[in-house]
């Protein structure tokens, strides 16, 4: 009798474990994340799998944004900008907008200074990353967290 009771208990525990695991699986892949590449995948798509180092790039963005429809962003890269050592491209990626890409800027040695500024949209509070491709083929990055109080992209016209 006691043996049977023991067995029953184990079975119930097992069931709870299975149920818990099931819930975890359900919670893991949010449906929206499947429709866009992750931040890491987007960066890999830009670099072609080359490892990205942190540094050299300075990403200036306000930490708290009231209106996500126009967020001023400045990217500066430490580079002498000579024919032999310059920044080829600067790319901006976001973490939670419907699309991971924001923009890709092509500079070259004629730019004189590796700095660009622009205005972007942010759908929600998230991480931004700026990746710079140097003329020697290396990639450098910098990221920043932004808190957005009024989101872009999702408002309807009515």
């Amino acid at each position: 009798m006691s043996v049977a009771k023991h067995k029953f208990r184990v079975g119930r525990r097992g069931l709870i474990l299975v149920g818990g695991a099931g819930l975890l699986v359900l919670a893991l892949p949010p449906a929206r994340a499947l429709t866009r590449p992750s931040l890491q995948e987007a960066v890999n798509g830009f670099t072609g799998g080359t490892p990205v180092e942190t540094g050299k790039v300075k990403l200036d963005v306000p930490p708290l944004v009231e209106n996500g429809n126009a967020v001023g962003v400045t990217v500066t890269v430490e580079s002498p900008m000579t024919a032999g050592d310059h920044v080829r491209r600067i790319a901006l990626f976001n973490e939670k907008n419907p699309q991971a890409d924001v923009a890709v800027f092509t500079l070259g040695s004629r730019a004189g200074r590796a700095r660009i500024a622009t205005r972007i949209r942010l759908a929600t509070s998230q991480t931004l990353i700026a990746v710079a491709e140097l003329s020697d083929g290396s990639y450098w990055s910098s990221s920043a967290n932004v808190i957005v109080t009024l989101a872009a992209c999702i408002e309807d016209l009515s």
Binding site: P98, R115, A117, T118, R121, L157
Partner: protein, 106 residues
């Protein structure tokens, strides 16, 4: 014809790094918004921007829907000789808007 706004210094010394700012009036419709009738508003954005200095491309950019309406870009270039800077914006339909500015280099 969209309204464009470019800022280029009128004069510069040879070899000087000049700051350039360019903006175009454009809604940059993302394609993710709903109209009043409940239908999605089709995407219409500026896809490509380029700046030529005397025929040579010195700067270009690929835009995605995450660029804000009336896309604005600030960048720099080295003043080499007196000439014209031409700015080109290409939208989803392949329509090109242009603007230009003269610079005198001494």
């Amino acid at each position: 014809m969209s309204r464009t706004l470019v800022s280029v210094p009128k004069t510069a010394r040879a070899g000087e790094v000049i700051d350039i700012r360019a903006m175009i009036a454009h809604p940059m419709e993302t394609g993710y918004r709903m109209g009043p009738n409940g239908q999605a508003i089709p995407r219409k954005i500026i896809r490509h921007f380029a700046c030529d200095y005397d025929g040579e491309e010195v700067f270009s950019a690929e835009f995605h829907p995450a660029m804000s309406a009336n896309p604005f870009v600030a960048f720099s270039t080295v003043a080499t000789k007196t000439g014209t800077l031409t700015f080109r914006w290409t939208d989803d339909d392949g329509k090109v808007e242009t603007a230009s500015a003269e610079i005198a280099v001494s």
